[in-house]
């Protein structure tokens, strides 16, 4: 493999790789604004200037492919001065409103200014201001903060497949906006906020809710569809504040759809059923199951493999004649019905673990209920069958995440945990097993399915059931 030298480190590279990627491997971090590994290269921001031996001018590392024997110095005087100059130009018209900016704490402009810029300013001119347009329900625009890196334009063009962000005007009055000032139409709009290196595009959903540096990050998987996109749950003190995509070159790369990004809201729904008298409901439900002649176990395909296996074992041990079926998305009964919904990420199976349910040999639910008791397990996202809603409440026991109105009002609900509140394994449409990771503890009275089943079998009427421990 050919080699080049970056800041004295000799490093191998593949033909065509740019200097930023090669430098990263050599442990040298070159600052960037307009460059994004998932987008095309435009070399507009001029932040990645480096000195290359035998080249008269400074070169942009993003647009320069590494060459055999190339000697690159990122810390040469000219390069350091060049980057400081770029930083000064970028901040000449930036409002510097970090204290009220949502990006503060995770802002490329802030970080690079701290490392490569100067602490003082030489501008006395009035700063440029813009009139903002409404960008729709997902994105809040603040054009004054924009540094014209055009990542958003390229994202729409190259990834989302819709050219809706454009630059209008020219020179100093260059404005980045939507065509005709229309709201964003893409279902991937949240990514605009992720790739924006400043606070020009921020999420309306996350706006003014939490400072970035307070958030703890848990790596997990999206439960929005069978794609299994990797994501990061950002939470603090038991509350989830947002979900961001996590890089996975095989599945979702750098992106996440809005449906998956904002899906966590269902776990915070005030209508979610979280209260139950365990010492009464659980033994009663178990009695009902014992007395039932042909109970039906309905398993949501939004549950993890571990939960499904526990339920199967429980059914085998307590109700040998039980009928077991899975449900998830209307119209998508098996993985054969599951297809891409668009050309980017989304799939038609709106639950995460359809393939997992099939691998455990669970059959799809065929919508007719002739049983004298239905015990339904759900993680919060699977769509409940219509026929179940018309059942007599006395014939249903619900375990998991339900909202008021999902089932007939008298139904016994034993509250379980949603996807941000538990760990487990899910299998995506390609058969890749991925791990969910518990980010937040979940409501006080909710329990994991394994514990719920244990309480059902062991608790006697009136016995004390303490949160998080089980039967005392």
């Amino acid at each position: 493999m050919p080699k080049c030298t970056i800041d004295g480190n000799e490093v191998e590279f593949e033909k065509g790789e740019n200097l930023i990627k090669v430098a990263k491997r050599a442990g040298v971090d070159i600052p960037v604004f307009c460059y994004h590994p998932g987008l095309s290269v435009v070399a507009q921001c001029r932040m990645c200037l480096v000195e290359i031996e035998k080249m008269p001018k400074l070169q942009t590392a993003c647009s320069t492919p590494a060459g055999e024997g190339m000697i690159v110095r990122t810390q040469a005087n000219a390069a350091v001065k060049g980057r400081a100059a770029t930083m000064e130009f970028l901040l000449a018209n930036h409002p510097l409103d970090c204290p009220i900016c949502d990006k503060s704490g995770e802002c490329d402009l802030q970080d690079n200014s701290f490392t490569h810029g100067s602490a003082t300013m030489r501008t006395t001119e009035e700063r440029r201001t813009y009139v903002d347009v409404d960008m729709g329900p997902v994105i809040q625009k603040n054009m004054n903060r924009c540094i014209h890196c055009t990542r958003c334009i390229r994202f729409g063009d190259e990834v989302a497949g819709i050219r809706e962000m454009v630059s209008i005007q020219r020179g100093n009055m260059l404005d980045i906006t939507t065509i005709d000032g229309l709201p964003l139409a893409t279902e991937y709009a949240g990514n605009y906020a992720d790739i924006c290196p400043t606070g020009a595009l921020t999420l309306k959903d996350f706006r003014f809710k939490k400072r970035a540096w307070f958030l703890k990050k848990t790596e997990t998987i999206c439960e929005g569809c069978s794609k299994g996109c990797n994501m990061e749950v950002h939470h603090e003190a038991g509350t989830v504040y947002r979900c961001l995509p996590r890089y996975n070159p095989q599945i979702n790369q750098y992106w996440l759809c809005d449906e998956g990004r904002f899906n966590y809201h269902h776990t915070q729904d005030p209508q979610r059923i979280v209260e139950v008298d365990w010492s009464d409901s659980a033994p009663t439900a178990f009695q009902q199951l014992k007395q039932a002649k042909n109970p039906l176990f309905l398993i949501g395909t939004d549950l993890c493999l571990e939960e499904m296996k526990t339920i199967l074992d429980f059914a085998k041990a307590t109700a040998a004649n039980a009928q077991i079926a899975h449900f998830g998305t209307p119209g998508v009964l098996t993985s054969k019905d599951d297809a891409p919904e668009d050309k980017i990420l989304k799939r038609t199976s709106k639950t995460s673990n359809l393939n997992g349910a099939e691998s455990l040999g669970i059959k799809p639910f065929d919508s007719k209920i002739t049983n004298d008791l239905v015990i339904v397990f759900r993680g919060g996202r699977a769509v409940l069958p219509q026929s179940l809603k018309q059942q007599d409440a006395k014939k249903i026991v619900a375990v998991g995440v339900f909202r008021i109105g999902d089932l007939p009002s008298e139904t016994t609900v034993l509250p379980g945990l949603a996807f941000t509140e538990k760990s487990g394994t899910i299998v995506n449409f390609e058969g890749t097993q991925q791990k969910l990771k518990k980010a937040v503890p979940g409501p006080r009275n909710s329990k994991p399915i394994s514990e719920i089943l244990m309480i059902m079998t062991q608790a006697k009427k009136g016995s004390v059931v303490t949160p998080g421990i089980g039967v005392a």
Partner: protein, 109 residues
């Protein structure tokens, strides 16, 4: 003019005003893609306008040279180089005229 073009001017021409006019041209022509040219040309135009209208200071002259140096050779296309050239050479050749404006000895009508 910085871009290789030649302008013939009268020896009585006000060089500060001429430089402002040239820089204004480049600030207007800048496409706005790359940072130094987009931000720098407008900035230099603003400083020159201040100088010309009697609100400038002597340190603005050095700032102009510094900004022009920071633009030159760092832009995406040659427009930035062309904008930086005149600023550097005008101040090098006609510095006293700029200083006269900065000290308030001369003011544009």
């Amino acid at each position: 003019m910085g871009s290789g073009a030649v302008i013939v001017i009268d020896e009585n021409t006000d060089m500060v005003k001429l430089l402002w006019r040239i820089t204004k041209f480049y600030a207007h022509e800048s496409c706005g893609q790359c940072t130094p040219c987009r931000e720098g040309c407008q900035w230099m135009e603003g400083i020159l306008h201040k100088l010309m209208t009697g609100q400038g200071q002597e340190r603005d002259i050095d700032l102009l040279v510094d900004l022009a140096t920071n633009i030159g050779g760092k832009t995406l296309c040659a427009l930035g180089d062309a904008a930086a050239g005149p600023v550097i050479s005008f101040i090098k050749k006609f510095r006293p005229e700029f200083e006269a404006y900065a000290r308030g000895q001369k003011k544009h009508a």
